[in-house]
């Protein structure tokens, strides 16, 4: 079992995730953008369009403007998720010294470890609270409930499960697992040089849930993270107005 979870499933999950996402995007690229259906006011150039798209991406501007209660849950959930994903990569790679590595003259190794702990813990809590808020909204808001399917709830449950286990490991020292043993295990995976899984049941649960998430990701609405750019690419594109003025008229714009 631990051979399967530790040495086989991770590769399956990685392959399914990467090839699945690639396949989905490949399929999006087959149909054409037939007509220019950009939303006005039009950006004057591609660089302006890209700035607008990134602004939407970073701030969830439309939700902020049109649905503030949803923005509150959605933006905090996503921002916590992004920072934590980055945090996981950095912290496991540098064994918690990421801030020290980034600013060695200012931040000592101990400070970096403390920061990693504190920031990670706070983000983890924000993430969980925001997820619960979004679940509550989906259940309480009649309109949202009307358009939801079982999978919409299951995605939330899965994320809530991951967040809960993660928070328990953070908050209760007896369930804590340091960076070093995980790093060692992951290094083994990446270098195809198997290292046994850390013997830690909560880690095992969380790790398995994450692999499940990776496997369902390409076959679910979670693809919206990429879909955002493909959709915005269609509806936020430059348009140039034709010149004004009536040829042959007695009154001309330019004298």
């Amino acid at each position: 079992m631990s051979l399967f979870l530790g040495q086989i499933l991770p590769y399956i999950a990685a392959v399914v995730f990467i090839s699945g996402v690639t396949w989905r995007i490949w399929r999006w690229m087959i149909p054409r953008i037939v007509h220019n259906i950009t939303l006005s006011p039009f950006p004057g150039s591609w660089s302006k369009a890209i700035v607008w798209i990134l602004w939407q991406f970073a701030t969830f501007w439309n939700l902020l403007k049109f649905d503030r209660p949803l923005w509150l849950g959605a933006w905090f959930m996503h921002i916590a998720l992004f920072l934590m994903l980055g945090g996981h990569v950095m912290a496991f790679y540098t064994v918690g010294l990421q801030f020290h590595v980034m600013a060695p003259g200012i931040i000592t190794a101990e400070m970096s470890l403390a920061m990693s702990d504190w920031i990670g813990t706070i983000l983890g809590l924000i993430f969980l609270v925001a997820l619960l808020y979004l679940l509550g909204r989906r259940l309480a808001n009649e309109q949202v409930r009307a358009i939801s399917s079982s999978s919409d709830y299951l995605h939330l449950f899965l994320l809530i499960g991951i967040a809960t286990v993660g928070n328990i490991m953070r908050l209760f020292p007896e369930y804590h697992l340091g960076y070093a043993p995980v790093r060692e295990y992951l290094a083994g995976l990446f270098l195809f040089n198997p290292v046994p899984l850390p013997d830690h049941s909560l880690f095992l649960i969380k790790y398995t849930l994450v692999m499940i998430l990776m496997i369902i990701f390409p076959f679910s609405k979670l693809m919206h993270s990429f879909g955002f750019f493909w959709e915005r690419w269609i509806v936020n594109r430059p348009y140039t107005e034709p010149a004004r003025g009536l040829p042959g008229a007695r009154l001309q714009l330019h004298k």
């Binding site: 149909p31 007509h35 079982s150 915005r232 348009y239 107005e241 040829p247």
Partner: protein
């Protein structure tokens, strides 16, 4: 829910479809045919695929849709409306829908669902307010276009849209106006102008060879909104344009765009460019019509079969009036439009064609300071009149729907306390006349060019 409980517009008969060269698809073949069409579209139209695959069901679009606000029917939530097709799309074209249909909300297609399409995709006005509000920019109108096209191919379309398609093929306009009728009406309008504006002589040239400008008015202006034609004629007279109207394409709208984009919409584009070439026009200027202007401005370049489009620029009469106002070339007397006035931003102008600014430039030039009051929300966030995409049905159930769908608009207008509601779009006008009546609003409806013509000061 059975089909007869659904709110549906009166259908075109088999005979009418036959006139358009189409046979109705028999019931037992409809499902397979529809799935085949979805399969084609998913390989051709990216905006459709992204709408199918990106939605997270956050529900931000619900309160953004005037149809949902008016009916409170979950199938009128934009995400719910699209789901009528998305469920089917998932079932046949996604891994998760094939393996776990119940879990992901995928469904086999059946005739009942097709009947629901006919109901709900003709309650969508393709106003794109949901696209404006959606965090991803998912454009429900793209799905509505495709749903309506598939229904049309199955032989399911409203009498209104199909009869209009027939009129387009016969005459090149929605109202079925003949050349004699067009000339007759325009001569009458010339006389009216002469009478009302102290002998001002405005000619409306029809099919005049060697014209520089082809003006494309909405055919509804000939019957319902003559003042919009007044305004255009007065403007062209003022600037001394060498212009004409073509009797073969006396139509700024494009009902093909609203039901059959493959044939009827294309037919109008082909006519337009052929006529512009025929009279040697160097520019095409569009009249007041929202969806038609979008179809011209954004679709002609990609839909045209003729090389002509690369040579003949197309602008809107508002664009030209705005440019002349900015250049200080028009003498306008705002006092002639001295009433409290509000502006309804037609959806296609505001969200698809970038007209929010030019309409305001014109408005501020033709009404006295302080007379213009904005409604809330406005510009790109404005609500549809409730009749967008030609859902101007007169059968009792659908008429009632139109009035419900305009609840939000009526509320917006009432809050401004305006006496004049300026709505520079033929469909808006056609929808707002009954809305004003049913909601008992103390306003008169006009176009924007109407006000320009009225304010122009002629000194000769």
């Amino acid at each position: 829910m059975s089909a007869n409980e659904l709110r549906q517009p009166k259908r075109a008969s088999a005979a009418l479809f036959k006139k358009l060269g189409m046979d109705l698809v028999p019931d037992n073949e409809k499902v397979a045919a529809a799935i085949g069409h979805i399969d084609d579209f998913r390989l051709k139209v990216r905006s459709f695929v992204m709408a199918m695959e990106t939605c997270v069901k956050c529900g931000a679009c619900a309160e953004a849709c005037h149809t949902y606000l008016g009916t409170r029917d979950p199938n009128n939530i934009p995400a719910g409306r699209v789901d009528l097709i998305r469920k089917v799309y998932k079932r046949y074209f996604t891994v998760q829908g094939q393996l776990f249909p119940g879990l992901v909300g995928a469904q086999d297609l059946d005739l009942e669902t097709i009947e629901k399409w006919y109901s709900y995709f003709y309650q969508c006005s393709e106003c794109r307010r949901c696209a404006h509000v959606c965090p991803f920019g998912i454009d429900t109108a793209e799905v509505t276009f495709i749903a309506r096209q598939i229904l049309y191919w199955l032989g399911i379309a409203p009498q209104l849209h199909t009869a209009t398609a027939d009129a387009i093929l016969r005459t090149g306009n929605h109202m079925g106006l003949t050349k004699a009728g067009i000339i007759d009406t325009l001569e009458f309008l010339s006389e009216e102008i002469e009478e009302e504006y102290d002998g001002l002589k405005v000619d409306f040239p029809v099919d005049k060879p060697d014209s520089d400008i082809l003006y494309v008015p909405s055919s509804a202006d000939f019957m319902l909104n003559p003042r919009t034609l007044f305004g255009a004629g007065q403007f062209f007279k003022y600037v001394g344009a060498n212009w004409t109207i073509s009797s073969e394409i006396t139509e700024a709208g494009n009902f093909g765009y609203l039901s059959d984009q493959t044939r009827i919409q294309r037919e109008m584009v082909t006519r337009l460019l052929a006529e512009a070439k025929k009279y040697g026009c160097k520019k095409i200027v569009w009249g007041e019509c929202g969806h038609g202007w979008r179809a011209a401005k954004m679709y002609v370049p990609t839909l045209a079969d003729l090389v002509a489009v690369k040579q003949i620029p197309i602008t809107h009469i508002h664009d030209e009036v705005e440019a002349y106002i900015k250049a200080g070339l028009l003498e306008l007397d705002p006092k002639r439009n001295d009433s409290k006035i509000t502006l309804h931003d037609p959806c296609n102008y505001a969200r698809a064609c970038g007209h929010a600014d030019n309409m305001r430039t014109i408005m501020n030039a033709v009404v006295p300071k302080g007379a213009f009051v904005e409604m809330t929300p406005n510009r790109e966030a404005n609500f549809c009149c409730g009749g967008g995409s030609g859902i101007l049905f007169d059968d009792p159930g659908m008429y009632q729907f139109r009035i419900e769908a305009s609840n939000k608009k009526a509320e917006q207008v009432r809050e401004t306390g305006a006496e004049i509601l300026c709505a520079p779009c033929s469909i808006c006008k056609a929808q707002l006349y009954p809305m004003v009546k049913e909601h008992k609003l103390p306003v008169e409806v006009f176009g924007l060019i109407d006000l320009v013509g009225h304010a122009l000061v002629f000194r000769e």
